[in-house]
Symmetry: C2
Subunit: 183 residues, 2 copies
């Protein structure tokens, strides 16, 4: 598996079931959401604008893509729904077959732009490591079938190294491509 | 990492937060439980009895251990608590540094005795694969710090190959050893 193959396999619309564990408080949260992953052209204006911000890195961009999400949170003990949505452009750049970085216009643990390091484990699990302002995050994504992915994450405090949260998402592809997320 | 080191690192008492996702029904479940992992002597009577059942396999047993659990389920939408507890003897037998099998007196996906194949990924994640009567299961266990493990699982129907459930547990070690689970 390389990053180009991984992104190609990820294209489409996914229903996500995500559970978060806040370790210090023994608190669970659950989120149902829809993700849409779309491959972008390397000449896409958002891709070119993002690359312009990092031109000192002399990147070798490959398979840029966009993730859009629309989530309905359901916090345990709190029946209010929290609808949120957003999108991020991701631009991989490989340094070898199994390693590289991914530029993100919006990060995972903190909603700021970020650079993730990526690598593949021996079973083709993609591992992303990201340093944010206050936290660091590790995300692992692996396919358990052609149309089901698992995604697990660990968020740590950068100061104390304490583990703030772990999470697990099951993502089921419902539509291969070309469907708008709001339909 | 080899299986002996992995078992040694796992000894002690752990608080577990576990989330399960039933994919077909988009149903979440949450379980808080206590696990206790105790190394056993290779001459322990339960170990010898279990090995006797599998003597045709000519095993090379190493680091046998016992897992005890006591769980309090909290199903979403159902405020009743479901207290359950149990224990299983596990006996690893390695065929190489990174591969082998583990005998289990009580399985994970089905409560029957089982033989799991194990291997280690390139980042020391332990992967267990088990064929039961009706289902097959893959479990992954990895340390995210000295005292915190993540465990993720996938359960498939053997007939249809459909993915029935995924789960994720965050396990936090509270006590290194020598404490009874009921204390």
């Amino acid at each position: 598996m390389n990053i180009e193959q991984f992104v190609a396999q990820s294209e489409g619309e996914w229903k996500s079931m995500r559970s978060g564990h806040s370790l210090a408080f023994k608190q669970f949260d659950e989120i149902l959401s829809v993700l849409k992953i779309t491959l972008l052209n390397e000449n896409d204006v958002e891709v070119l604008n993002t690359l312009e911000d990092y031109k000192e890195l002399h990147l070798n961009p490959i398979s840029p893509f966009k993730i859009e999400w629309k989530a309905e949170s359901n916090w345990k003990g709190n029946k209010e729904s929290d609808l949120s949505s957003g999108s991020s452009i991701l631009i991989p750049s490989c340094s070898s077959e199994k390693h590289g970085i991914i530029l993100r216009t919006l990060g995972y643990a903190e909603k700021i732009k970020a650079i993730s390091k990526y690598s593949f484990l021996s079973d083709d699990t993609l591992v992303l490591s990201t340093e944010y302002n206050e936290t660091s995050a590790e995300e692992r994504i692996w396919f358990i079938s052609k149309n089901v992915r698992c995604r697990s994450s660990v968020i740590r405090s950068k100061d104390s190294k304490a583990i703030l949260q772990t999470s697990h998402a099951s993502e089921i592809r419902t539509i291969k491509q070309d469907i708008k997320i709001n339909e």
